[in-house]
Amino acid sequence: MTEAETDTENVPQSKYTKDKKVGEGTYAVVYLGVQKHTKRKIAIKEIKTGLFKDGLDMSALREVKYLQELRHPNVIELVDVFGTSNNLNLVLEFLPCDLEVLIKSKDIMFLAADIKSWLLMTFRGLHHCHRMSILHRDLKPNNLLLAPDGQLKIADFGLARGLGNLNEDLSSNVVTRWYRAPELLFGAKHYTAAIDIWSVGIIFAELMLRIPYLPGKDDVDQLDVTFKALGTPTEQIWPNVSNLPLYNSLRVYPPPSRQELRNRFIAATDKALDLMISMTQLDPSRRCNTSQALLHEYFTELPSPTDPKNLPKNKPNEPTVESNGNTTKRRKVE
């Protein structure tokens, strides 16, 4: 408790270097940096405070609030937070890749065991969130980041929300459209953790198909695409659904038969299909929760999940984690 401790007394930003910009999000610029005393690579998310007339954007505050409550190998680690004269900075562990990049890299093959491993890590991370009464509300491949050791980390808690007040209305305009659960599409304001389970189910499907499963063109089309694939909900299969605000005159599609699902997900085992079906139940009260999912036989049947360190990685010719100057420059020659 000597050097590090006294360092803390100093200006916090002097503990980190801010080396180069690696990305820009809706409300932040992300830099690659190093935590000086550990040499650990970190990402500094600098929140653009100037943009908002009343100071900080809510999402930044949410991200800080919820990440401080979470600590799990499959949730991104918030290493530090510090403010400078006009900025708020989140120091996060540096995660060089995400699942969306891999899904789109058509020359990378996914084994059934790889998909199982990613899904398992997603569920472990999500179980931790839900256990702490935190809904993520924006799960999508792009927010499942991958560490150099293969560990998957749930990231971007900018839309997260506690399950605190029961009477308070929640916004139904959450979750990127393609991964939005039907109760949200119907404008529900008192939804549950089941909305995250739906998103993971759709991600599971996307991992198997290698293309988005329910790519709606707009919010109306999203309903159509969703029900075309999974059947139109009725009072019978989803009691009380007609009480949701936006439930009206829907095109009626029959639910898919098991065989139709088998045909669509050719490589999936019966257990894999079972799990996916239970994650994508239209009625949220019938969807499995994270505990049930983690205990599902899909995870114990062969093949066993790939050891994270052996999972596919993004191509080495992308700027790699090693930023000793020369490697970062070696971009793909087009």
Binding site: Y191, N243, L244
Partner: protein, 338 residues
């Protein structure tokens, strides 16, 4: 028993559609263990996609199924076939050492398997043996399956290992066969040489013969050395592939939650009425939680439709109430993960 037709020189051309691999480099050849007649993938697709059909080779006519076609692994079709036969025999005679009380019985069993494989691949009564094997399989289906199930857990690594071992064994056999042929050739040559020398050399016959014998001896010891090296090389390879198979083996048992789970709650939940009717009736159980606000929500159809349930809500409130109790902050901090 069908005879295996060895490939001719035109090995890069599909004998059915005459497509040349040179011209379509993406072409793949497949064989079917019924008759081992080679043809290209698109021929297989064309001929067998609609269901089983006879092999198009002139005079063959065996009925082939598309899903049995496979890529040829070994150049030598004899070897390919022997491996298929071995696989087949082993899938039926699948007892393991642990199934025998005595090592000697197990050895006898292995010998029986070897004889059977040899018999089917090259014996005169191959056909009878095949029928016998099929009959045995039929009669012992259950036991065979049971042993297979037991095996399938271990087999993931083992299959790879056995495959590697088989390849090495075959490789060694091939080299030995080649050496035998070379030896024959060498002896013939020596004979010829001796005759020539006897006719033209000034040395007498005893000396010449002695010379040749020395040569042969030298060659023999060289051969022996090469074979020994080969043997130890194989064993090395086997050992490394075995140890890598072993390395993967010590699987830690699967732990779905990795400890991140409240198995021992600090409280016991009272029964909560599941059905709305009980709640609606208002005669709430005195042994349950009564919270006017919660009960109201539990009747709200919009809440219900969105998946909200009284049970989970109560459980969450209890979890949050008890969360952190029994947790010593200083201790937790000192073991904070890094």
């Amino acid at each position: 028993m069908t005879e295996v037709i060895l490939e001719d020189r035109s090995r890069d051309m599909c004998p059915i559609c005459k497509t040349d691999k040179y011209l379509s480099p993406n072409m793949n050849f497949l064989i079917n263990p019924e008759c081992y007649h080679k043809m290209c993938e698109s021929c297989v697709d064309r001929i067998f996609s609609l269901g089983p059909a006879p092999c198009p080779y002139p005079g063959c006519g065996k009925i082939l199924r598309k899903n049995r076609f496979k890529q040829q692994v070994f150049d030598d079709l004899q070897i390919e076939r022997e491996i298929d036969i071995r696989k087949k025999v082993l899938s039926v005679h699948n007892k393991l050492q642990e199934d025998f009380d005595l090592i000697s019985e197990h050895n006898k069993y292995l010998e029986m398997i070897e004889n059977l494989v040899y018999g089917i691949s090259s014996g005169d009564n191959a056909h009878d043996l095949e029928i016998e094997l099929a009959k045995f399989e039929q009669e012992n289906k259950v036991q065979i399956l049971e042993r297979n199930m037991r095996e399938s857990e271990r087999s993931n690594d083992m299959a790879k290992f056995q495959d590697a071992m088989e390849r090495l064994r075959q490789e060694k056999l091939k080299i030995e066969r080649k050496m035998e042929l070379e030896d024959e050739e060498f002896t013939k040559q020596q004979k010829q040489e001796l005759l020539n020398k006897l006719a033209h050399s000034s040395l007498n016959s005893d000396e010449l013969i002695q010379q040749q014998m020395n040569q042969a001896l030298k060659r023999k010891s060289q051969r022996k050395k090469i074979l020994q090296e080969l043997q130890s090389e194989m064993e090395d390879k086997l050992r490394t592939s075995f140890s890598s198979a072993k390395e993967e083996a010590p699987k830690t048992p699967f732990t779905p939650f990795k400890g991140d789970r409240d198995l021992h709650k600090l409280y016991r939940l009272l029964p909560i009425p599941m059905d709305i009717d009980t709640l609606m009736a208002g005669n709430s159980d005195p042994d349950s939680y009564s919270d006017a606000n919660l009960t109201l929500l539990a009747k709200n159809k919009e809440y219900l439709a969105a998946g909200w349930r009284l049970h989970t809500a109560v459980e969450r409130v209890m979890d949050e109430t008890f969360m952190g109790l029994g947790c010593i902050v200083d201790k937790e901090k000192s073991i904070s993960i890094h």
